[in-house]
């Protein structure tokens, strides 16, 4: 499974992204990520989850998951990010931050 989270916007306007191939991860970590994708019902989420009036300085996300021949992309504003998707986004953000060491 391949997971990509791209973040734009925020006060600093910086692009931040994380790409993960679960095959390259230790088994336990790989399993945890797959579970986070499953529990978000990712492939059933609408492709665009945004309000008509964006909130100043909040982040925008583009999340893509590729699994067993299926690929799905969800664009969501931070304020509209579905609660069940938040743990996956937080997990990938933690991976991105730990890579900056």
């Amino acid at each position: 499974m391949k997971i990509r989270v791209q973040r734009s916007g925020g006060f600093a306007g910086l692009q931040a992204g994380t790409d993960v191939d679960t095959d390259s991860l230790p088994k336990e970590e790989s399993q945890q990520l797959k579970e986070l994708v499953d529990s978000s019902s990712f492939f059933e989420l609408p492709p665009v989850i945004k309000s008509r009036n964006p909130i100043p300085d909040r982040f925008s996300y583009r999340i893509t998951v590729e699994s067993q021949g299926h690929e799905h992309t969800v664009e969501a504003s931070e304020a509209e990010l579905p609660e069940k998707l938040r743990p996956l986004v937080q997990r990938l953000d933690a991976m991105r931050r730990s890579k900056r060491r």
Partner: protein, 325 residues
């Protein structure tokens, strides 16, 4: 905004303006009151959270709480002393701020009702941090509150050119809040937005440079160089960040800097006054850069005279960033 107030704002002219405003707005019996309330989200995303310091209460043991309190106070004072404005809505609205939002949150925002600040990377060991807490920079606090002012005035939409203009107004007045608190002239100010927000391990002056957009940082930790354009020929067409609102704001930011530098003195007095009147009385939800250029020129001509140094400075500045009036 009543017609009477509009008239007062536009009726103030020349160098006497500030003295007059001083008498009108900072008299012995202030009719306007600053009211602040600081909350903590305790690292959650629940807003507003738990209240930790109210107006007039002694300092907290938490530095972040005190920075949000002092910074929102300095921003209130700036708008009140500078332009006679009573808080974000002009009607004395209480200034609410929530600190310690989420964990590892590299951001701050105005959600339509209140300010919200993250702690940056302060949950990581010092050697791994890129961002400090977002209350560290006074201009960030001024920036967020100005999103509130814009919401109640021009109500600019947050995408494409109107969005970049919305961003730029927040940088302009955020920087002016800091300049007034330091009593700096246009030539003394650094015109950097978010100084101190990056840790010492990042090669950066800050997040953005209003004087030289595109030069605030250059570091692999931030994917390279500051990408802000300084001229219309480099305007960035993108679907990211609501049409690059934090990128293209570099163009009107520089127009403001050039105006202020040309006029000289305290930037909030004349350049800031022109931009403030345009924000309140001239700009609308779909205003683009050219409309902002025309309106600031029109306001400058009305306030200081059509052939005044101020009106000429405004025209010259917009021309220099590639926008014909």
């Amino acid at each position: 905004m009543t017609e009477q107030l509009r008239g007062q704002r536009l009726g103030m002219t020349g160098s006497k303006t500030m003295a007059l405003q001083g008498m009108l707005f900072a008299g012995p019996k202030p009719a306007q009151q600053k009211t602040r309330l600081i909350y903590t989200a305790d690292n959650s995303v629940a807003l507003p959270g738990r209240d930790v310091r109210s107006e007039g209460a002694p300092p907290s043991g938490d530095q972040t709480v005190n920075e949000a309190y002092d910074g929102s106070g300095a921003t209130y004072d700036f708008y009140q002393k500078g332009y006679g404005r009573n808080s974000v809505d002009g009607k004395g609205m209480r200034l609410d701020s929530t600190v310690h939002y989420e964990r590892g949150y590299d951001n701050a925002f105005w959600n339509g009702r209140q300010m919200v600040y993250g702690d940056g990377d302060e949950d990581l060991p010092p050697g791994e941090r890129v961002f400090n807490r977002f209350t560290v920079a006074l201009d960030v606090i001024g920036h967020e509150l100005t999103h509130g002012v814009t919401q109640f005035e021009a109500s600019l939409v947050y995408w494409d050119q109107p969005g970049a203009l919305n961003e730029s107004l927040s940088d302009v007045f955020g920087s002016l809040v800091k300049q007034m608190s330091l009593n700096q002239t246009a030539s003394q100010a650094d015109w950097i937005i978010g100084k101190g927000l990056f840790t010492a391990r990042v090669n950066a002056k800050g997040i953005r440079s209003m004087k030289d957009p595109g030069t605030a940082y250059d570091d692999p930790l931030l994917n390279g160089k500051d990408p802000q354009p300084a001229h219309m020929r480099d305007y960035v067409n993108t679907s990211e960040d609501n049409g690059g609102v934090h990128l293209n704001s570099g163009i009107p930011n520089r127009a403001f800097y050039l105006t202020a530098a040309e006029i000289g003195g305290h930037a909030w007095e004349r350049a800031g006054h022109i931009w403030y009147v345009a924000l309140c009385d001239k700009l609308g939800s779909r205003s683009d850069f050219r409309h902002a250029a025309r309106m600031t020129k029109q306001v400058a001509a009305k306030l200081y005279g059509p052939g005044s140094a101020e009106a000429k400075a405004v025209q010259k500045a917009w021309t220099k960033v590639g926008i014909k009036i």
